[in-house]
Structure formats: structure tokens, C-alpha cells
């Protein structure tokens, strides 16, 4: 493999007809170029759509209560019910592989009136009673102070973390926020932190939220043990989509809801949505590989063809070598190596041009600003490595038939050709 004489010979052969070598390489280089570009474009689209999902822990479901539609155990249908804190515990006990269960209670919401007051300023905001884990399920950036923590929960501290939008409406520019009080439906909460959410489709709404400890919320607004809403995230190894039936089942049993009552518990499976998009990316990657490999295939056929011609031209030489005692496999190896070398070199050129092209596209994207659903098209090292593997394989493939034909002809016949 790393034999100097072999390499010398490969270079001699390939450089003996530079134009032909270049023309041959073009096919393979072009194929890899197309493959890289397609994969990068797919990646760009993927990045764009992923950005829309934000950093949300995607293996998550959201669950809320509705009215029952089937009467059960003497309870009428159409009954309004609410999750309880025991349900959270029960889910925790009975369903394995869950990472977080965050119960939430909520005030305000779409279309409701002003519920928060600070001095003379008032505003209508969503107010959430939450557990600290929620920040992992609905990521936000803490811009000052801190988020709700476990001590706040245990001590039922009346503290609040407010969004940018809340700050803009209730505070003057440059005013200190941390340590001040806001009044939520008549109850004073001390602001301990501010956050900013990535724009994830919610627009301004996401910034106009107030987070307070779940326990303090329940106490202040007389929720008792009620839980309005839950965000449940599964461990990385398991899928929430598979666990959700069980979770809903536990809750139904606890709340005395008929097992067949499909409407009583509402939920949204983020993971399923995400997977749908994921499988679209997968399909896109397939298309890219498919098209790229087809183009590459025509390049390979080109290389194979040229190698056949080269071998025809070298028939006599091969005859001489065999008369001098070169073993057939050695000739075969030589031709395969020539072919692999040629494909790898041309493939590398394709990769380099592809990378330069992507770099150029990124530069343009950067300068014209963000384009919808298309961010940072790129190819990973993994793609380059797999492209190289494909190339080596292609080289083998391209060289195989010529190599076979080179040793098929008997030395005596090879010597006779002129």
C-alpha cells in the first residue's frame, strides 16, 4: 500500500495523459460536489426548522383537564374536574423513565383583563405558578437575578420572575427591577429575576409572562391542591409518546374518569410533532444521498471507462510485466489503487469546491440577514468522512472491472498486441 514504487507508477500513469485524467476526475468531483451541496442545503433547512423549535426539551407532553364526556362510578358526564397534586405524585410513582413532571397553575391568559399592578401602572399578563424544572422544558434566558428555585417552593415565597415585556410595561427605562414589588390580583410578589425567551413563534406574548413558585401561587390564589396543567418530560432513552397512554391512564383512574373517555384529559405531544419533522429531515437526507450517489455513479462509470481504455493501451505492457513474473493480483492491485487514487483526488477536489461554495452561501446569508427556515447550511465532518468512504468504495467499484479485464487476457496474447 505504501510502496514507493507503486505510487511512483500510479503518478506516472496518471500524469502521462493529464487532460484525460482531469476530464475523468471531473465526473467524480462533480458528483461529490452535488452530494455535499444537497446535504448542506438539507442541513440548512433542518437548522432553520430546528431553530423554530428552540431549545425546548422535545421529549415532552403537555396535559390539561377538560370536561368528562362519559358518566362513571355514579358521577355525571360533563363534570368539570381538576388535576390534584396527588396525581403528580401518582404519575411519579407509577410511570417509569420520566425526567420532569412540572405541575402548573395559571392566571390571566388570552383576552383577560388587567391583573397586575405596580404603582400607577397596570397590565394584563399570564401568571404561572411553576416548579423550577419548567425552565428546562420551556427554556428561557435569565437576564438578571435568578429563576424560581426549590427553596422558594418549600417556603412558599412570594417571589416573581418577569419577562421583558412585563418589565417594559411596568417599569421606566433604566429603573431597578430586582427587589421591587408587583401586585398580582392584589397579592404582593417581590421580583427576583427577569428573563427573555427565544422567539419561538409566540412573538411578544412569550415575553409577557410572570413566573412565581407553584406553592406560593396555590396559597395566594386559593388553589388548594388543584393543578391546572402539567408539562412532563421523559428520559432521553425513552419516548414520551410511548408513555403518554400510561400517564393519562393514571390520571383518569385518580380522577374517577371512565377509561374510554378520550376527551376528558387534553394533551399535546410535542415529541410526536417533532418526530414528524425529524422524519422529514431524514427523507430529505435520503433524497440528497440518492441524487448525489446517482450523479456520483455516472462519474464512477466514467472512471471505469477511462480505466478500461488505459488498460487497453497498456495491454502490451501488462503482458511484458507478466512475462517478467508479476503476479496477476499485483497487477489487479495496481489498477485498483490507480482507480481509488483518481476517485479520491477528484472527490477531494469536489469536497473542497463544495465546502467553498457553502462557505460562500453562508457569507451571503450573513450579509443579507436571516432567511426564513434556512440557517447555516453546513456539512459535518461525519458527512465528509462518509463521502470519503463512498469514494474509496467507488474507486474500488470503478477499478474492479478494468482490473479484472487486465488479468483476464493471457500474457501471450497481451504480448502479441501492438
Amino acid at each position: 500500500m505504501f510502496n514507493r514504487d507503486r505510487w511512483k507508477e500510479i503518478l506516472e500513469v496518471l500524469s502521462s495523459n493529464v487532460f484525460r485524467t482531469l476530464a475523468t476526475s471531473f465526473g467524480v468531483g462533480w458528483g461529490i460536489f452535488i452530494l455535499i451541496i444537497l446535504l448542506a442545503a438539507g442541513k440548512g433547512l433542518e437548522n432553520g426548522i430546528r431553530a423554530d423549535f428552540g431549545d425546548i426539551a422535545t421529549n415532552t407532553m403537555f396535559m390539561w383537564s377538560r370536561n368528562t364526556t362519559i358518566s362513571y362510578k355514579g358521577l355525571p358526564k360533563g363534570r368539570r374536574f381538576s388535576f390534584k397534586l396527588e396525581d403528580v405524585q401518582a404519575i411519579n410513582d407509577k410511570v417509569p423513565n420520566l425526567r420532569f413532571i412540572s405541575p402548573r397553575n395559571q392566571l390571566g391568559g388570552f383576552g383577560s383583563g388587567n391583573n397586575v399592578v405596580r404603582g400607577l401602572k397596570t397590565g394584563a399578563f399570564n401568571v404561572y405558578g411553576d416548579y423550577p424544572e419548567i425552565i428546562r422544558q420551556e427554556p428561557m434566558t435569565i437576564t438578571s437575578g435568578r429563576f424560581v428555585n426549590q427553596n422558594d417552593i418549600e417556603d412558599k415565597r412570594k417571589i416573581a420572575v418577569i419577562g421583558d415585556g412585563v418589565q417594559n410595561e411596568l417599569y421606566d427605562q433604566g429603573e431597578t427591577v430586582i427587589g421591587t414589588y408587583i401586585k398580582i390580583q392584589g397579592v404582593n410578589f417581590m421580583v427576583v429575576g427577569t428573563y427573555q425567551k427565544k422567539d419561538s413563534g409566540g412573538g411578544e406574548e412569550g415575553q409577557k409572562e410572570i413566573y412565581v413558585p407553584f406553592t406560593a401561587f396555590s396559597q395566594a390564589f386559593n388553589m388548594g391542591n388543584d393543578v391546572g396543567w402539567m408539562a412532563i418530560t421523559a428520559n432521553d432513552g425513552s419516548s414520551i409518546s410511548e408513555l403518554k397512554e400510561k400517564i393519562v391512564g393514571v390520571v383518569k383512574e385518580n380522577r374517577k374518569i371512565h377509561p374510554d373517555d378520550k376527551r376528558a384529559v387534553g394533551y399535546f405531544d410535542l415529541y410526536e410533532q417533532f418526530n414528524r419533522v425529524e422524519s422529514l429531515f431524514g427523507a430529505l437526507r435520503w433524497v440528497a444521498y440518492f441524487v448525489g450517489v446517482l450523479v456520483l455513479l455516472s462519474g464512477i462509470i466514467g472512471v471505469s471507462n477511462i480505466m478500461l481504455i488505459v488498460i487497453k493501451e497498456r495491454t502490451k505492457e501488462i503482458g511484458i510485466r507478466r512475462a517478467l513474473g508479476e503476479a496477476p493480483w499485483s497487477i489487479k492491485k495496481q489498477i485498483l489503487m490507480e482507480s481509488i487514487f483518481l476517485t479520491i483526488i477528484s472527490g477531494m477536489i469536489g469536497i473542497i469546491f463544495g465546502a467553498a461554495f457553502i462557505y460562500g452561501v453562508n457569507a451571503v446569508l450573513d450579509s443579507v440577514g436571516p432567511v426564513d427556515m434556512f440557517i447555516n447550511p453546513s456539512v459535518s465532518l461525519g458527512v465528509v468522512v462518509s463521502a470519503l468512504v463512498i469514494l474509496i468504495f467507488s474507486g474500488l467499484l470503478a477499478g474492479f472491472i478494468p482490473a479484472q479485464s487486465a488479468i483476464k487476457i493471457r500474457p501471450i496474447e497481451a504480448l502479441r498486441t501492438e
Binding site: R321, A323, G325
Partner: protein
Amino acid sequence: MIQIKDLHKSYKMGKNSLHVLKGINFNVEEGELVAIMGSSGSGKSTLLNILGMLDSSDSGEYILDNVPIKDLNETKAARYRNKFLGFVFQSFNLINYKSAAENVALPLYYQKVPRKERQEKALKYLEQVGLKEWAGHLPSELSGGQKQRVAIARALAAEPKVLLADEPTGALDSKTSYEVMDLIQKINDAGNTILIVTHEPDIADMCKRIVHLKDGVIIEDKKIEQVRAEQYV
């Protein structure tokens, strides 16, 4: 060194088959210099190619240096050729993009001789054929006689048991032919066994034995008094 018994060979062309060798029997001892003569188409090259394991016979026995040569696959044939045989062709058959020294070193490369030793040996044999100064030249820069001398050096490089030459002087003028024959005689003097196919009686007379082929059989096989080529050079 060489024992051949009842060797037959025919070429099939479609339905017809051409019986070229019709039972050849002959032995060659170590150190002989044999000329194989005969009219065109008498099967001289065919015989030499079978001796050289470049072609196979249909029937008959061939023993080379006490090794029976039969049922060879290509890999084995290549190894035997490399070990036992040196070839000299009418059309020289040098590899045109390799220098004289590289051409000579080629059989040694197939024997996996280390690079440095290969180069030394190649130079040694080029010196023996009087072309040391031409070591770095490509075949295209050499005259016909020089090319054939390089080819002879190449055939010698692997130190074969037998040297097979198919009309080695066929493409050369008479003066150069004698130079080449002089070289072949000297190599033979050193103890090498050599078989030469030739048309030319004067070349045949420079050997020690003449085998005459006609219509696929040996019609004459005689030892002769060798004419030294030296005197014509």
C-alpha cells in the same frame, strides 16, 4: 535442464483446429546454447512460448530444472517465470516510461528485492552489457542494439536458469546483431543455458547446437562448432 516429451499444441479457430506442434521431443543440458530454426509458421515461437510458460501445451511432458511444469495457475506461472526464466523479445519490449535501470530492476521488484539492492544489481547488469552510462535514459533515447542489450540485462537480472530469446536480432542490422550475439555468447560462457529462435543461419552458427523445426516436428538436431561473434565486432 529442460526435458520435453511428445509435446503437442494446436490452435483452435472456430471449427478448424491448426495442429502446430506435433510431438516434440528434446532435452537441453545446463550450459547449452541452442538455436531453434525453421521456416516461418513452423511453430518456433509457439514452442518457445510453451517453454516460457506464457502458453500451455495440449499434451506432453515438460520438466524444467527437475520441476514438472503442468496445471499452472497464473499466479504460479508468474512465479516460475520470474524464478526460472529470462525473456528476450524481437521487439525488445521495454517499458517505455521507465528508465533503462528501472526496466532492468523490474524482475527484481517482483521478487520483492529491497529497493537499494535492486538498483545496485540493475547497474551491475547494465555494466555487464556495457550500458552503465545509459542507466537513467528512457528506451526512446536508445538505439535498437542498446535497447536489446537493456532487455538482455533485464532478462539476466533475476538470475534465471534459462534464457529464452525469440529472434533477438530480428530487428537489428548485422553489425549490431553480432554485438548482441557476442554478449549472448559471453553470458553462455559464464554457464547460462540459452535458447534462441532465429531465421538467420549466421546467427544460428554462433550457437553450439541447432534444432530444426518443420511442420511441427524436429527434423534435425545437431551440435556444431561455435562461430565466435567477437571477430565480427
